[in-house]
């Protein structure tokens, strides 16, 4: 032990303690700015909306009061809620599988060396970077009866004219077409990346062994791309449940709620009907749904990765 005067020893000890405290807590300081924003606008609102969903707060009751689970009970008794939930599930159940299968097929096709491959990839991917609201404006004009592209193309085959957005049976399928067009390219790039990561020898060996295109796709490509597929399914489902922007231009949930989806319903309850209690309870239901999708898929992905490791 080096000999030092007690005073120096004392100062040094204090400075090391300080330094140790600083080292121990400095990480926390660096995290603090981001944490503050996340707490204020994600954590707190989540708790706030949970609490608010137990309050009566609408035009007839301008001051909020505690009413337990009454909002939830009213929502469950509301046929519009069930209509909207059914629409949302139907919308997801159609758009997600079709987009994913299409994305996979396009990825396999565009992974080969072809003339104009870059142009083709651009053509499929570009809808991803368009604002949804601009895409909706374009499709609004495509779906306009008689004058729109849809009716004019069908008119060439003498299959014209339809009131795409005014017909309760046609509007949801019309919205699904837009979703498939807008998101397939985004999903495709994940499959393309997955394909490029696969060892080429496997495919060569299979081709030499005489396995045909579809056999190769089914027995080799698909199992190897399974983790990618699970992952893409998760983002696709979460995205489908959050569909909302295009409804503002295309049908506004109508006619008679035929195209109303969950997030748009939340908007209507909060900002058109001014029923914050109902809107909050719907938000809680939506959060639970979206979270469940993420967690279930994350679990299955983890398990799969475990088996493959």
């Amino acid at each position: 032990m080096a000999v030092a005067s007690p005073r120096v020893e004392h100062v040094r000890a204090r400075s090391t303690v300080l330094r140790r405290v600083a080292a121990r807590w400095s990480g926390l300081l660096l995290v603090l700015p981001a944490l503050a924003f996340i707490s204020a606008f994600t954590l707190w609102p989540t708790l706030h909306v949970l609490f608010y969903s137990l309050q009566r707060h609408d035009l007839a009751h301008p001051t909020a009061s505690f009413i337990g689970l009454a909002n939830y009970r009213e929502i469950v008794d509301d046929p519009i809620f069930w209509r909207v939930l059914k629409n949302t599930v139907y919308y997801a159940a159609v758009t997600v599988p079709i987009s994913i299968v299409l994305a996979l097929l396009l990825a396999v096709a565009l992974n080969q060396k072809l003339p104009l491959r870059g142009l083709f990839r651009t053509a499929i991917f570009y809808p991803t970077v368009l604002p949804t609201i601009s895409a909706a404006a374009i499709w609004l004009f495509i779906y306009i009866p008689d004058l729109g592209l849809a009716d004019r193309l069908l008119g060439l085959l003498h299959l014209g004219h339809h009131n795409w957005l005014g017909n309760a049976h046609l509007i949801l399928p019309a919205l699904m077409v837009i979703a498939i067009w807008k998101q397939s390219g985004y999903f495709m790039i994940f499959f393309l990346a997955g394909l490029q990561a696969l060892p080429a020898e496997v495919f060569e060996a299979a081709a030499i062994d005489g396995a045909g295109l579809f056999r190769r796709l089914w027995s080799i490509t698909l199992p190897l791309l399974w983790p990618t597929t699970v992952f893409v399914t998760t983002i696709a489902l979460v995205g489908a449940f959050q569909t909302v922007d295009q409804l503002f231009l295309l049908g506004q949930g109508g006619p008679n709620n035929a195209s109303n989806l969950l997030l748009y319903r939340i908007y209507q309850e909060a900002f058109q009907n001014f029923n914050l209690g109902h809107a909050s309870a719907l938000t809680v239901i939506m959060l639970v749904l979206v979270f469940a999708i993420s967690v279930i898929n994350y679990r299955s992905l983890e398990r799969r990765a475990y088996y493959e490791a």
Binding site: A34, T42, F120
Partner: protein, 297 residues
């Protein structure tokens, strides 16, 4: 689990004629495949071509008549008219301020937090990281109702600040930076420390230059997302002065829809879409690489 069965024995000495016909069949097959693929791509490009064609359509050309894509001589009159009839300049300025403001703040908060999570050791680190993961999984658009109430009680409704605030801390950005920082060799940090670098020099001179690709990817994703964002800005603003392009376009479209002003609306749409689309066409590879990271694998 599907297993690859042992393949059927392949005939080794096929007659020449048969081999030739198989080759022809294969060629026809790939030609058919190529044509099909080209048609699908054309269908995908269709809406954009349709929008562009309509935007340059002269007022003298009635809708619903004439050649589908480009009837008559193209004109820029619709763009001039659209620019005159709605405050697009204000919308543009607002969008740029919002996008740049959000991005700048996100980069700072994410780099600090991401570095701390990657290399720091502090009490409660793992628990706090869960908070960030929670934000990653929570779609912030779903929280419009409580966030609106917050903005109302802060008297921030109808301001650009209200549009930006919820996004200034990013779980996704933090996660990206954390992953990138972990790939930086710890020896580099130790060497810089020996030379007397303090924490911000360490971050600025050692880490930031090395994680630049991740920051660039985050920049593209964040800019695209906020350029395109619609629901939150719609809710939290109520005058054109505070509104971004997307909300402005929606109002513009709804105003013109009944008057069959479609060439005008398409011109407005092209004005909104053009910057992002041009950026994408110029930086395709970077865009696609960045969007791949938005998958967070």
């Amino acid at each position: 689990m599907a297993t690859v069965e042992s393949p059927l024995p392949v005939a080794t000495s096929r007659p020449r004629a048969l081999a030739l016909s198989t080759r022809w069949r294969r060629l026809a097959g790939s030609a058919l495949f190529y044509v099909l693929l080209a048609i699908v791509c054309l269908i995908w490009a269709g809406p954009l071509i349709w929008a562009l064609g309509t935007a340059v359509r002269a007022a003298s050309q009635p809708l619903g008549k004439g050649w589908l894509w480009l009837p008559g001589a193209p004109t820029l009159e619709n763009f001039r008219e659209a620019w005159r009839s709605a405050p697009f300049l204000t919308y543009y300025t607002n969008t740029i301020i919002i996008v740049v403001g959000i991005l700048a703040c996100q980069l700072v908060t994410s780099v600090l937090a991401g570095y701390a999570f990657a290399r720091g050791r502090f009490p409660g680190r793992d628990l706090l990281f869960l908070v960030f993961i929670f934000q990653l999984l929570t779609p912030i658009t779903v929280l419009i109702v409580p966030n609106y109430l917050t903005m109302r009680s802060l008297h921030l409704v109808n301001s650009k600040l209200a549009i930006m605030l919820p996004y200034l801390g990013s779980g996704f950005g933090t996660f990206l930076v954390r992953q990138a920082c972990r790939t930086v060799p710890i020896e580099m940090e130790e060497a810089a420390r020996v030379e007397g670098a303090n924490w911000w020099q360490l971050i600025w001179h050692v880490y930031v230059p090395l994680i630049r690709p991740a920051l660039f990817a985050f920049t593209i994703i964040s800019a695209t997302y906020h350029w395109n964002d619609f629901l939150w800005p719609l809710i939290v603003t109520n005058t054109p002065g505070a509104r971004p392009l997307t909300v402005g376009l929606s109002a513009f479209t709804q105003a013109g829809e009944t008057g069959a002003q479609f060439p005008l609306i398409m011109a407005g749409t092209v004005l909104v879409v053009a910057p992002m689309l041009l950026a994408f066409l110029l930086l395709q590879r970077q865009f696609i690489d960045s969007f791949l990271r938005s998958g967070l694998k």
